[in-house]
């Protein structure tokens, strides 16, 4: 059954440096409660909001990346509702229907379908730049807590509300879209997508013949796919039974893996929108736009295409692009080596795999060795000094655990006398030699393996071993 999904994605601009309207920190995690607050983000009367340059530039860069219509002037509006975590009891946002002008109206987000490796696109209705509320804690259940306990450290953190058109065809596509979006925002320096609670998704989903159902409170891309799959199945079942899917709002219960109707009936709200009189419009001038364009130099897409054009497989290219420190290494090292595919494989598959294996944080820049070291390894293989397998098996594990180490000490000793090893093996493996000589060619592989084993961890080129073996075997054959 055909499914249509629309997303409302809230992403904190965690890397903006400051909150949207004051100089408190945009990355509030790690502060003791209520220690990242000032009169502005506490909404104290008389304290006035002044938008920061960085959050606005990041929002514009996001809008530009989605080919949005960007208004000449951004206008902030007030949205009123009473809630303990909202210190002014209004949120400053950009509602376009009450005199506001959001940073983006009508755009298009392109994302990579990592199943088919095709680019897809979905319409963007708008992007708002707004302030995040504080965080509320309850004693146990939200419905039974006597008090709400509020920490305003998050209050005022710049938040992008990105609203897509309801045209995403499947839960999996929804997930891939959000994953790509987060990566994009990471590339422009706006967001660290791995921070807890840095994004939240509300999704609306309908199946053919049913009303639209809103699913709130989705906190990860994995949950997004799960919640939407659950909902698609639930709605399909209703329609197939001949029932009707009612318009409603449901809540994603991540622990139980199911959506549930919201128990609190939402009030019919009147948000009393109007333009914030404290905030004259922000003129989107040349200087702001060029600053925004400047940080858009590299997008995951441009990078992916560039890496793919070097003959690197999509899976590997994406593996590199989806890990920004890896792509940084790749782009630097790429200029130093000639075999780009080898480099791609080393960074995107084996080094990354080794780091992961060792439990390192792949997104931490310092977890990765410098690009020159990686390039050095590739060059060793290019020059035939070591085999790729030797580097992979013997060097990468050491480099991964000690990324700043110079390469030389990590290189295994080379077997200096391959002939001696071959002689030793031939002497020992008389049965295999007989087999080979009697025409069973496969025995050669066995013998090569034995020679490599006899190297006892020292580097040996299996091709050389094979060559030497063949020489000796020919001699033996000749001797009869």
């Amino acid at each position: 059954m055909r499914v249509r999904i629309g997303l409302e994605i809230h992403v904190q601009l965690s890397n903006a440096g400051t909150k949207l309207f004051c100089d408190c920190d945009s990355e509030y995690r790690g502060f003791p409660p209520n220690s990242n607050v000032c009169p502005v983000c506490l909404g104290l009367p008389g304290a006035l909001p002044v938008p920061g340059r960085r959050p606005v530039v990041l929002a514009l860069a996001t809008a530009l990346s989605m080919k949005c219509k960007i208004p000449e002037r951004l206008v902030f509006t007030r949205k009123h509702y009473f809630y303990p975590d909202l210190p002014k009891n209004y949120q400053i946002t950009q509602f376009e229907k009450a005199g506001g002008a959001p940073v983006c109206l009508e755009g298009e987000l392109e994302y990579l379908d990592t199943d088919s490796w095709e680019w897809r696109s979905v319409g963007i209705s708008r992007i708002n730049l707004e302030e995040d509320p504080g965080r509320t804690y309850y004693e146990g259940d939200i419905l039974r807590s006597r008090y709400a306990y509020v920490d305003y450290n998050r209050s005022g953190v710049p938040l992008l509300e990105i609203v897509t058109k309801p045209e995403i065809p499947s839960p999996r596509q929804a997930r891939m879209l959000v994953e790509y979006l987060l990566l994009l925002l990471e590339y422009i320096g706006a967001v660290n997508p791995r921070l807890e609670g840095v994004f939240r998704v509300d999704a609306n989903i309908s199946v053919e013949g049913g009303e639209r159902v809103e699913v709130k409170n989705i906190g990860s891309t994995l949950d997004l796919e799960k919640a939407l799959k659950f909902e698609a199945k639930r709605q399909t079942a209703i329609v197939e039974r001949g029932g009707r899917v009612e318009r409603e709002t449901r809540h994603w219960d991540s622990a139980r893996g199911m959506t549930k109707p919201l128990r609190l009936k939402e009030e019919e709200a009147d948000y009393l929108y109007f333009p914030d009189p404290d905030l004259p419009p922000v003129e989107v001038g040349k200087d702001l736009l060029s600053e925004a364009i400047g940080i858009l130099k590299t997008t995951p897409r441009s990078l992916f295409e560039r890496i793919s054009s070097m003959g690197i497989r999509s899976e590997i290219a994406w593996s590199i692009v989806s890990t920004p420190p890896a792509s940084k290494r790749f782009l630097e090292a790429e200029k130093m080596v000639s075999d780009k595919r080898l480099l791609g494989r080393m960074i995107g598959v084996d080094l990354k795999g080794e780091l992961k294996e060792q439990g390192r944080d792949l997104h931490k820049d310092s977890a990765w060795p410098p690009a020159e070291r990686i390039a050095e390894l590739v060059k060793l293989v290019e020059r035939g000094e070591y085999t790729y397998d030797t580097i992979k098996g013997l060097v990468l594990p050491k480099l991964a655990s000690n990324p700043l180490s110079p390469i030389q000490p990590l290189l295994p000793e080379k077997v200096d006398d391959v002939k001696a090893l071959v002689d030793e093996v031939l002497k020992r493996e008389s049965k295999a030699v007989r087999d080979y000589l009697s025409g069973r060619g496969k025995a050669l592989n066995y013998l090569v393996g034995q020679v490599v084993r006899a190297a006892k961890g020292k580097a040996i080129d299996p091709r050389k071993a094979r060559e030497e073996l063949l020489n000796k075997l020919r001699e033996l054959e000749a001797r009869g």
Binding site: V37, C38, P51, G52, R144, Y147, Y149, P277, V282
Partner: protein
């Protein structure tokens, strides 16, 4: 408009504004709301004599100067808030649900 300014409409306004009124205030404001809203409705009437006038929200229609980092203005809640409203973890305690004690 007549319907909207009746005391029934007042209930909705009171609900949105989160503003409890006593009986006396209710009757005074009920009477005034109707008069005041009629008074304020003159404004839209005058617009009929004009073409399309764009709204004016900020009197000089200037654009604002974006902030670059100013100065740290962080404050501590205990600078202005009663100590008993702050829990031991530093969070602000706000009444939330009606629940029986114990």
């Amino acid at each position: 408009m007549e319907e909207s300014t009746s005391c029934g409409a007042l209930e909705r306004l009171v609900e949105i504004a989160k503003l409890e009124l006593n009986d006396e205030e209710r009757s005074v404001i009920c009477r005034d709301l109707e008069r005041i809203s009629r008074y304020l409705s003159q404004v839209s009437a005058i617009l009929e004599n004009y073409g399309d006038v764009p709204p004016l929200y900020h009197v000089w229609e200037e654009s604002l100067a974006l902030r670059s980092r100013e100065r740290d203005r962080r404050v501590s809640l205990s600078d202005f808030l009663d100590a008993w409203k702050i829990d031991s973890g530093g969070r602000v305690k706000v009444p939330w649900r009606e629940v029986g004690r114990g």
